[in-house]
């Protein structure tokens, strides 16, 4: 299996961070950033990563099955993640998630037919101070109101990129 030169370089950097007999430490970052390029955690990808970090494919599957941010089928180009853990729950996260479900006509880990948008109800993303929080791909949206969520989702549905939806600015982390 081959990857882009950029991803190969990134994998090299991950692997170089750890001692030669602890290459498996690079497993999670390799899976998550590899997933962005491959699209999802495919069997072929699992075999390749297993070979590179020196574990069995089963051990890779144990890890990839555990972490919900690792997907075994491709998600949409824009993966909308709504947190419903405690801080977000108390501040309306669950309502946001249900609203997103209705607006997009999607459920948990479902993808729109055109492959552009997918939805996921996620666990804590570490943004409790700015709850309720929403994440699209790697971008965070803090203190999200139902109106802001509507604007984000309407924009995505209308074919806009998140950057073009200027009414709801993403947070610079």
């Amino acid at each position: 299996m081959t990857f882009s030169p950029e991803l190969e370089a990134r994998f090299e950097r991950f692997l170089a961070k750890y001692p030669a007999d602890r290459k498996r430490s690079a497993l999670i970052p390799m899976l998550i950033y590899g997933q962005d390029e491959v699209g999802s955690i495919t069997d072929e990808f699992v075999e390749e990563i297993a070979k590179r970090v020196g574990v069995t494919p089963l051990e890779v599957r144990e890890v990839s099955g555990f972490y919900s941010m690792l997907h075994h089928k491709p998600m949409g180009k824009y993966h909308v993640q709504v947190c419903t853990n405690i801080s977000c729950l108390l501040t309306g996260g669950e309502e946001l998630y249900e609203r997103a479900c209705h607006k997009l006509g999607l459920g948990h880990k479902q993808v729109s037919p055109d492959g552009r948008i997918s939805l996921e109800e996620v666990e804590c993303m570490g943004a409790c101070s700015w709850a309720p929080a929403v994440q699209i791909n790697y971008d965070f949206y803090h203190d999200v109101t139902p109106e802001q969520l509507d604007k984000l989702l309407d924009g995505l549905k209308a074919g806009k990129d998140p950057e073009q939806i200027t009414e709801v600015p993403k947070v610079n982390c």
């Binding site: 069997d43 051990e59 599957r61 144990e62």
Partner: protein, 692 residues
């Protein structure tokens, strides 16, 4: 020894070495702390939350399976809070566990049943629909029923740590976690079935035993596995004269609960459709036809009598699977009654040279317990995990628990290399060249066990013992042999050159190869061996008598075929590769067959040698062995429940044996000579692996 720590459990003042876990300290003192995931000998998991205890001055309940005892620690295991916690844990475990106990294989011997009975609540607050996952078959022997799984991960650890295979893992998270096999939907593993045995519930079930019987309907007979020379005890579950399963859950015997695929499943050759159940005699038309025992024995005795009377030539081949009593009785009959020394068996390891070379040195024979207790191991020319799974298991456990140093010198990659401090590759018969470079490392070890395969024989064995002697540390040895009683066959004198106890026979005799090559044999008598599998007799039409379970290539050439009982159908003793004598116990009877001991006795009786041979009772014959074979003078109680090692010689062996006769078949995990060919389960595993 670590310092003793004083502490209290349930008001009883106790002491234990520092580092002891609370759960172990309690168990040693008769206090039960229930647990599922904790399993002695494997890594700690702390997954099931069943072993919660209260510890004074600790704010929350603690898991006893990961908590070491501390000085002054006050532990309580049976307070209302603990009782409520156990009830809660069991309520959670039963939340998704199907209550199909009436049909579950584990019903009646299920740890979850026992725990719920003892500690559980009568009611559940869960009303949610249970998550259903369809049952999966992972191999001919392993089935997985996910909803029954309580996620204790014992199977994962037994496979990874115990077997060094790592074929099982856990995928997903929380309530939807599943045990997964290494090849997505099937297993590529040793098929040992340890995962099934260690499962506290009925999540992992056995392809041969599932839905066949209830545990309480079986009788449990502890006997010795009849396949390889490791000599594992297997406890056969018997119902209506049928063997339903083999396991060793009571951890008795030298092998504890270890069994490989052969010990656990490959007993099934005994009721193979082709099993011989009636004697056969070649008729005038040249065809084998069924005959009565009395007729067949009469034919054999008459012919043997004639041949003996005219001073004819006998050739007798004994077996690596028959008992010590049978082997002793056979050679006695051959030598004292038939007056021949043409008696041999298939030699699979050079034990004779080893016991001779050890004479006058500080070296000893290794026991199977040594493999778990000694500090360093040198494995020469053997793929131990494949050919001797139990010996490999012992060394692996030793490495895990005591960081034993393993050195390997092998031709190909072996599993032991993964944990070896030095692994050297040398072609077969050149292994010796690697020893000089290991000398310094080995001499620095506190003690050493050397295990060697059939590529080290004759002079090389002497050189090896001299090398061991020169290290200046205590060294013990194991000459690896193939089958369940290979060692016993040599000890009992199934060779032309040696009598029982390694005394020189002093009379020339033919070995197997010479019998096949001889052109003037009058009778060829084979007991439980298959010398004509890939060879021919040079003598034209000798009188051939074969005692076997199946119509092997050799039996097809016989004039008289006598159906013999398998190891699971008779009593007696066998000696494993480490020289440990253990008792076989009859589990079932097969209609129409007789134990080889009885057959030999009946032939002798028919020929009028009964007074000379004495009764064909295993205990009586063993008493003779005790007198004749040094080291076998062991008290019967010692081997009634356990094993006792024998050192069969004291001093030099009387005669040099020809090392060229030594050749191992290098049976792997799924082959076992003729027996393996008639085992449905071994064949199905081989077939499955070939199809992948």
């Amino acid at each position: 020894m670590a310092d003793l720590v004083k502490f209290t459990i349930d008001g009883i003042e106790l002491e234990a070495p520092a580092g002891t876990l609370v759960i172990e300290a309690a168990k040693k003192n008769g206090i039960e702390i229930p647990s599922f995931c904790y399993y002695e000998g494997y890594s700690l998991q702390a997954a099931c939350r069943m072993c919660l205890v209260e510890v004074e001055r600790m704010p929350k309940m603690q898991v006893a399976c990961t908590l070491p005892v501390g000085p002054g620690m006050v532990v309580r295991t049976n307070t209302p809070q603990i009782q409520a916690a156990r009830k809660g844990t069991l309520e959670f475990l039963l939340g998704n566990h199907p209550l199909d106990c009436p049909v579950c294989d584990k019903g009646g011997e299920c740890e979850l049943q026992d725990m719920v009975f003892r500690y559980g609540a009568g009611e559940s607050r869960f009303t949610e629909t249970k998550i259903h996952v369809d049952e999966q078959q992972w191999s001919p022997v392993v089935f997985y029923d996910a909803p029954r799984c309580i996620l204790c991960f014992r199977c994962v650890r037994a496979c990874d740590e115990g077997m060094g295979v790592g074929a099982l893992g856990v995928i997903n998270r929380g309530a939807v976690s599943l045990i997964a096999p290494n090849m997505q939907d099937h297993l590529n593993c040793d098929e040992c079935g340890q995962c099934i045995d260690i499962c506290p519930v009925g999540a992992l079930t056995s392809g041969t035993y599932r839905y066949q019987t209830r545990p309480w309907e079986m009788e449990h007979v502890g006997t010795i596995c009849t396949h390889c020379s490791d000599g594992c005890k297997t406890t056969l579950g018997v119902r209506h004269e049928q063997i339903m399963r083999g396991n060793n859950r009571d951890r008795s015997g030298i092998n504890g609960e270890f069994l490989c695929v052969k010990g656990r499943y490959a007993f099934d050759f005994y009721d193979h459709a082709e099993r011989l159940q009636t004697p056969m005699v070649r008729n005038v038309a040249g065809k084998l036809e069924p005959a009565s025992w009395s007729k067949a024995l009469e034919v054999v005795a008459k012919k043997f009598g004639e041949i003996k009377a005219r001073g004819g030539r006998f050739g007798i081949v004994g077996s690596n699977h028959t008992t010590n009593e049978e082997n002793f009785y056979l050679q006695k009959f051959a030598r004292e009654c038939l007056g021949t020394n043409n008696i041999d068996h298939r030699r699979t390891g050079d034990v004779t040279t080893l016991v001779d070379a050890l004479s006058g040195t500080s070296g000893t024979l290794a026991t199977t317990a040594d493999l778990y207790e000694k500090k360093a191991f040198l494995i020469i020319g053997a793929d131990l995990s494949i050919e001797h799974p139990f010996l490999a298991f012992q060394i692996r456990a030793n490495y895990r628990h005591h960081q034993a140093h393993v050195y390997t010198v092998t031709a190909d990659e072996v599993r032991e290399e993964k944990t070896a401090v030095r692994a050297i590759r040398k072609p077969r018969f050149q292994e010796f060249d690697a020893l000089p470079e290991l000398r310094d490392a080995l001499a620095a070890e506190p003690n050493l066990v050397i295990l060697f395969g059939d590529s080290v024989k004759g002079e090389d064995v002497r050189k090896l013992v001299a090398f061991g002697e020169s290290l200046g540390i205590p060294v013990s040895y194991c000459a690896l042999v193939d089958y369940s009683n290979s060692r016993g066959a040599i000890d009992m004198g199934l060779t032309p050159e040696l009598l029982p106890g390694y005394h020189a026979s002093g009379t020339p005799g033919l070995n197997v190869g010479e019998m096949l090559a001889a052109t003037d044999l009058d009778a060829f008598w084979v007991i439980g061996e298959n010398p004509l599998e890939n060879a021919k007799l040079s003598t034209k039409r000798p009188f051939v008598v074969v005692q076997d379970m199946f119509l092997t290539e050799t039996a097809q050439k016989a004039d008289v075929v006598l159906p013999s009982a398998s190891a699971y159908e008779k009593n007696g003793t066998v000696t494993n590769g480490c020289g440990e004598v253990q008792k076989l116990k009859r589990a079932v009877s097969m209609l129409g067959t007789k134990p080889d001991l009885e057959i030999i006795g009946l032939i002798a009786k028919e020929m009028g040698f009964a007074p000379r041979m004495g009764p064909w009772l295993p205990d009586t014959v063993f008493n003779e062995i005790r007198k004749a074979v040094k080291g076998y003078d062991i008290p019967l109680p010692a081997i009634t429940l356990g094993a006792q090692q024998t050192m069969p010689v004291n001093g030099r062996v009387g005669v040099q044996t020809n090392p060229d006769l030594v050749a191992s078949a290098h049976e792997n995990l799924f082959t076992s000579g003729t027996l393996g060919r008639y085992s449905k389960i071994l064949n199905s595993v081989i077939e499955k692996r070939a199809n992948q």
